[in-house]
Subunit: 193 residues, 2 copies
């Protein structure tokens, strides 16, 4: 039996991304975003939603660029504090011992220590209410060679991402392999379809 | 050392959602979407990106509503075939033995067997290229009482969601608890900040 939980954003798990920006003075900043995701395959676009009150919001409006760095589980503490503190009055790079790496493609820095990064140029800005949705076109994806398999593809277990649980405000790691997409369900189509 | 993987959507893991709609004739349909996420906390909004070629795309444009049902790992095969077949020429409910439940709030059905569902009214439509981004305002979230803990909050381990790995096209389950958000990193701020 289903029970109403009200009008809210209780989707279960969301991805955890760290958004990198330069402010007006060129200082690098980063913040953690749980409201992010892919928006389009071609052109490749990803979106992040930021509250207007955040320091990173003004930076994206100013610079029209941002990066997304995927934090590994080994950096969960650093990622968490990046989501608590504000770049307005904190140097989060010093707090976390993480390093801003200047993108050669877009006007934003990414986190040098994180294994997977996406460099984006701002394409659309959508005001939704408390949050603004920034949609960026991906100029390039970069990955540490240590998280690639022998075929040069991303090995998700080496990337070791983690997730944010809405409501519970908890982080969970990625779990075991479940099956091959666009394949594991095909037998149902044959049997019953 | 980081290596370029090109301009694409290789973000690692994404959430797996099943989008429910009625077509022009009132027939229920569902499709699997890996390009979804929360877009705004207030008003509560979630977004899904669908290719124009999909049958569900036309249904959302027509009905201005959709639901999102979060599939549990135990239904990975059903979820996968829902992402392979098209509602244009397949009755996916019959193929999967899943049941469309009519929302009392919005003009769309959700998956009765899935533990967590969000009912949405279409708020924004954004053409991005291959994909259209539909942003819906959440009218209600409903959960099976069996996935709630003693405080009435969602127990993510009982919801048992899974993720889609971009590039590898694989599904992975959710893993172990990693820490408390907005808390586990606070010690870094105290020590170094």
């Amino acid at each position: 039996m289903k029970q109403s939980l009200g009008a809210n954003t209780l989707v279960g798990a969301t991805t955890v991304w760290v958004v990198g920006t330069y402010d007006r003075e060129g200082r690098p900043n980063m913040m953690t975003a749980a409201w992010g995701g892919v928006c389009c395959s071609d052109p490749p676009c990803i979106g992040v939603s930021l509250r207007k009150a955040t320091y990173s919001h003004a930076a994206i409006v100013e610079r029209k660029a941002f990066t997304v760095s995927i934090p590994p589980a080994g950096h969960v503490k650093e990622t968490d504090i990046v989501g608590i503190a504000s770049g307005r009055n904190t140097d989060k790079w010093q707090t976390t011992n993480l390093t801003p790496e200047r993108s050669q493609l877009v006007d934003a820095p990414y986190v040098a220590e994180f294994p997977l990064v996406l460099e984006c140029r701002l394409l659309h800005t959508l005001e939704l209410g408390l949050h603004t949705r920034f949609i960026g076109q991906v100029a390039d994806v970069k990955a540490e060679t240590s998280v690639l398999d022998k075929d040069g593809d991303l090995d998700i277990e080496k990337v070791d991402p983690f997730f944010y649980i809405v409501g519970k405000r908890a982080y969970y790691r990625i779990g075991p392999y479940l099956g091959k997409a666009h394949s594991i369900g095909a037998e149902l189509g044959k049997r019953r379809g």
